[in-house]
Symmetry: C3
């Protein structure tokens, strides 16, 4: 994953344009079945409209001597996203109105965009800004803002059931690592794992520009998604090693939330739990009133909370193979739990006699059973499997990770001691409705 | 308000009698539409009966030399409330059986009453008692206990809706300030504010003697009040500056409770939360089994909890204009919240594009949106306005005072981004029933 | 009770056999109406089968000189429970495979059994084991394992109502005191108290071997018990003075749980609250999926948690008359609460006038009512008795022990101020179903 991140990092992604399209084509190559969808500029989507397509070839600030002081070629954050073309001489005073830097982080180039209002501007480190000189300056932005299209990638994986899980990640940020290139690469790795064998559930995996992309996608698919989705995750900020973060759905108790909290509790010792008030990415749309999809987030360092966020400091040194792997494993475990999230019911009245099945020691000593955690776990699963709890609920009841319960339940099922009541979902009204079952 | 309190303070109020009647007439003058109701002695009211009317002109303890040692003219707490007339010479020993003082507060005259058992008695400071001398004493109480009537004041303000809010305060305590004269004056100020313009809700405002007054009133109006009342407050102990106190309804989760807690949380940093087990005023009747009105209390220093309570030390120095004003504002905010307590619903799918409406910056920088709290608040209101939350619930969800949400919702409503689902009440079964809507 | 414990302590109880039968006959003598039931070996019960009957007359390890090193006559824990007969010479090495001792408690003989797998073995102190010498050894166990029967005792006490309470205790452990002989003697004392007069509820009291006994019993009576049982307690570990412990039902909110927690809170300052995950006795069966009886435990030191548990150190010095009495009183209070667990409703609107009934002081002074806790309690009971709360709920609401509320409610009932709404149970669906009422 780290290698993919390294290769995708330099592309100049934005809401639209060739950088985003190249990123999607790179991912398409490793994900059979993924299709790229082009949505023309001007297309209406709920309260929004697809903006013109933006492409950029270069951008410089030069002084009177022709020395290039700031150059898009050095870092694609140097030009404000969606800058209109410009080519003229400006005074220092006029230039100032088009410059963005961070006094508190003098070596960072900030990330600034103006998607829906025509502007041009440069982002630079505060040190660069202070060293600019008196001017005049020759500013050139070689960009185009023309009718074109917004591009997103969609991979639908059909499983045994029509119930589906959503993975959504975004591909609209230029060269930044934790937010955002970690998201597409972890999502791609999850997609490859999902494609590796036939699954119980169906999966809808989308790579799209943030906000406008998910709004466009929902304007076309919300109905179907509301019927089918039992859980979903926005995959973002999944590359660093600092911490784990959980951001809930608005309701906070959907299957996605329950799975996310269960996985994070057992996958990592401590995680930061946020509120839906702290939302910031496409969960804003998936969780909007009237959309109401059960979508939660399992992140490493959350957007808005780490100092490198939305600056050039969020570079490849911010993320690591280990950081990406940890987030990948957390999501993969969540998907495994969803795949096996049946409701179980004990078939015998009173405790079964595990001893004659070789599942329990036949000698009773004081300290024997307590040491044998596997036996204890099986007895607890039998005691709590009353048909009302799904796998997550059962695992929480017996205070074990769901992935440790799964093989024990399989053993008990083989012995005829437990049965699946139904392929439960735990998502309540919404979930059952989603089944068409 | 403090001036009104000063003028009403000296009157000798009791369950019945001229002191109470004068108090009510004073209030009537400033409250157009308020009517005074006389209920004859002997009238049955649930388990009770209106007692005889008590009036008192004077009361003294004098010694053999004719020196007046204790005089009702000095302080109307000196005579036990509802004392029967007496005029005779008694020994020190006999007098002792009719004296009440507080050894722990030697300068305080305690407040003592005997409403339903014929007695006579004097209350005095412990220092006075110790200085009385050997006797004999000439005790005179020039009072009458005769058939007459109990008097209460009632102000009904009709609004757009038949749903109504109850404000209840009592007028039966002689010269004491926080408990009680603060209650009638704050209630009168609220009534004047309510009368100043046409309101959405109707209001029932009653000034009555505690316990027997509310029981008599409920015996006549409980049916109608149960149908119409969405929330109510007993206004008492609202004059000092020490603290704020909240006393819930028995259920603890009525609209009155939710509004009271919300207002106190944002109106004041800290408040003391009591249990319905700590009740003591007319909430005992409003919250009684079978009456079950949604009534809560927002007090300053709660009855029974401050050392001056029910003594002559609870005088005009105990309360202040600032103390009264704080309580007035808290109640007024509660009424404003009730007036606007609709359920709101976002009208667009996904987030609306606030930028093109001038409600959101068009330039996206890392720290921009986070600084603009107004933008953040609007986005949160849109995200949580799912039609299930009333204004209080919505304000709690977005962690803002309701009175800060109200203008933002008005802005969003004007833009067509939110609508009122119905004039919600949040009071559940009882409330909806109350609407007749 | 301590005297009974002393007499029953030496008997060699097991799942089956004469020791258990003698214990039951001893209890039968003091409990008129108790019957002993014999269940033949081989009888099927759910997933189990009644094992052969085990009887033992002696067991020794002797050395070549004929010196007896370990002797069942010294302590009946010396032979592994259900040991098959043996009589032969063995080497030290072979003997080792049949020895059980505790290195960490060198003076304790551990309690070991092998009910469902044929074995023989000796338990001894670690000091004994270290002093055994080289061998060879002559091992003799004079036992029989033959078709016979499992024996249990059942006492059904019919009350006014068909609703019933279960008391279950076990009689299968050899000479150990807190676990187990405390259980049968406290249960017997409770049964004698229940038999002393006609009761409102019916009682099902069973003395049976742990696990197989309750499974056999449930295989015959579960249907009826599910219909009738409103609450039950497994009586075990009720003899020492160290602490009180509470172990809930799986659901944790049954009437048995609510009563147990209420009693323990008021009966003792602090108690240890466990989870159903910590279960270990017959609550495993009563609370099993499909059985689902509302059964909780009020123990002194809980099984598995004290160092003497399941060793010879759990002897008569571990328990005391005072320890037994404390547990007896806790259970008796629980049964008293269940007997009186009606729902109460106040009959008058608003507060009744307690003064004219002599239940309230007629003189109102500041500190008067607050001192009179009885008056305060009555007023609170009237305020909360809304017909929705059973006695436990009402007592919790007014923050008093149910047994202090009972006489006050009787007084109020005599005055016509409260009525019983129905003989409530608080057990929800299950309980109401149980009434057949």
């Amino acid at each position: 994953m780290y290698q993919w991140a390294r290769e995708l990092f330099p592309l100049c992604r934005s809401l639209t344009g060739e950088g985003t399209r190249q990123t999607l084509r790179y991912l398409q190559k490793m994900l059979p079945g993924m299709r790229l969808v082009e949505v023309p500029s001007g297309t209406r989507a709920f309260d929004w409209e697809v903006p013109p397509e933006w492409n950029i070839r270069g951008g410089t600030i030069a002084d009177a001597q022709g020395r290039v002081l700031v150059d898009f070629a050095d870092h694609n954050l140097h030009v404000v996203g969606y800058s209109e073309p410009v080519d003229r001489w400006v005074s220092r005073e006029e230039l100032e109105r088009h410059l963005y830097s961070l006094e508190s982080q003098p070596d960072a180039i900030p990330y600034v965009t103006s998607f829906y209002e025509r502007r041009w501007g440069f982002c630079l480190t505060h040190r660069q800004r202070e060293a600019l000189g008196e001017g005049p300056f020759h500013v050139v932005i070689d960009s185009t803002l023309q009718p074109g299209s917004l591009t997103y990638g969609e991979l639908l994986i059909e499983g045994e059931s029509r119930r589906e899980v959503l993975l959504s990640t975004y591909v609209c940020h230029p060269s930044m690592a934790n937010n955002e290139i970690s998201g597409p690469v972890v999502t791609a790795a999850l997609a490859r794992w999902l494609l590796s064998e036939r699954r119980q559930l169906s999966y809808r995996i989308v790579f799209l520009p943030e906000t406008i992309g998910s709004i466009v996608y929902l304007s076309r698919h919300a109905e179907e998604m509301r019927r089918r989705t039992i859980a979903g995750f926005v995959v973002t900020c999944v590359g660093d090693e600092r911490t784990y973060s959980y951001l809930p759905s608005r309701r906070g108790d959907t299957l996605a939330d329950r799975v996310a909290r269960h996985v994070l509790k057992h996958h990592t010792g401590h995680y930061d739990a946020y509120s839906f008030l702290d939302r910031g990415s496409d969960e804003r749309q998936y969780g909007a009133v009237g959309i109401d999809l059960p979508v939660a987030l399992m992140m490493r360092s959350k957007f808005h909370t780490y100092p490198e966020y939305h600056t050039s400091l969020d570079d490849l040194s911010m993320i690591s193979a280990k950081g990406l792997e940890g987030a990948y494993q957390a999501h993969r475990r969540a998907l495994e739990v969803l795949e096996h999230n049946a409701r179980w019911r004990t078939t015998v009245m009173c405790e079964p006699q595990l001893g004659r099945r070789g599942l329990h020691p036949t000698l009773s000593t004081r300290d024997g059973c307590r040491r044998d955690l596997r036996v204890k776990a099986m007895r607890n699963l039998l005691a709590y499997a009353d048909g009302s709890l799904d796998l997550v609920g059962l695992a929480e009841a017996v205070e074990l990770p769901a992935w440790e319960c799964m093989p024990l339940l399989t053993t008990l099922e083989r012995e005829g001691l437990v049965v699946r009541v139904c392929e439960g979902d735990g998502a309540g009204e919404q979930g059952r409705e989603a089944f068409g079952e």
